[in-house]
């Protein structure tokens, strides 16, 4: 019966909300500090941020050298 399945759905929704309400939350200031720290600690390894030296760019076609 559709009223039974609505009831079952509603029960599931309430159970899920109870579960999610119990999540422990840290302050955004702490979360933000850690996200920031991660970015800064790894910045030097981030080729898209700091650039790729021309000679060591695997996607760039090597230039031919002319020997004069």
């Amino acid at each position: 019966m559709s009223s039974n399945s609505n009831l079952t759905s509603m029960r599931r929704i309430v159970e899920q909300l109870k579960f999610e309400a119990n999540v422990e939350r840290i302050k955004v200031s702490q979360a933000a500090a850690e996200l920031q720290q991660y970015c800064l600690q790894n910045a030097s390894k981030d080729a898209l941020l700091v650039g790729v030296p021309t000679g060591s760019n695997p996607f760039r076609d090597p230039r031919s050298c002319a020997l004069l």
Partner: protein, 338 residues
Amino acid sequence: MGEMDQMKKEAEGLKSQIEAARKAAADTTLADAASGVAPAPRVQLKTRKTLKGHLAKIYAMHWATDCRLMVSASQDGKLIIWDAFSGNKINAVPLKSSWVMTCAYAPSGNLVASGGLDNMCTVYNLKTPVVKTVKELDAHTGYLSCARFLSDTEILTASGDTTCALWDIETGKQKTVFLNHVGDCMCLALSPDMNMFISGACDSLAKLWDIRDGTCKQTFQGHTSDINAISFFPSGNAVVTGSDDCTCKMYDLRSDQEVISYQDAQLNSGVTSLALSVSGRLIFAGYDDFNCNIWDSLKGEKVGVLSGHDNRVSCTGVPQDGMCVCTGSWDSFLKIWN
């Protein structure tokens, strides 16, 4: 009061409780907290390679873990395996159904998968002399929007039937079905430690799931339209989403809420795809307006744009070593930038 009314009241009460708890933890915003950080430099990337070969719109791409090979899927009915260093095609896999929406590369490099309006996820072995179909994973009752391998024996899928599923590739059966979304699931991303995954759906919610026990751990709201793209921040503690509402958002898992929104009054195209650079500082977001905008993840400012496609950017991907970013488009080309 009938049980139904009682439960509705309980649900409303719980939602208010969650709202209040989130507010109590919101002692700042990410942008404010990062005000002391030097802005990211203006990012100007050049197209290093244009991969030509598909004959119709490209819908998806995925890097192999070797950071050199990648797979792309097009509605020309093919998966193409590319060597991104040379721009050469290594393999072209003909698909039974050309209505493909997703593709994935297994971490081992041995397998690839695809799926779409056929409602199935097909797994292929690239290492046999001729590419062979290993399994057709058939149980979803809606389109396959996204697939990601955990290993050669397990794969996660997201579907238009509103569920996600974990499959045993060898038996072809679903081990776990993740039920909770009330709209088509459009995207999924695996956590760096592979114990969790996050999904985005047309119900405008992102959900965090425990892969092993099948439960939905957290739900993130804020978007006002379909979430088309999702990715973990590299530390695993936050998630970035892209939506038809033209914004991207970052949600922190431990404070259980949105911490910043990436938007611009002049941007009124939906976000189709996104990828983060290895430090998490840069977000590459593909839009319906043919561009890929680059955002400073901490400050919420646009720091660059990748223009070059002649149609919608449908997919974006950064390889594990972060050496470049790949964009795929409805113009049938893929471009490698750095």
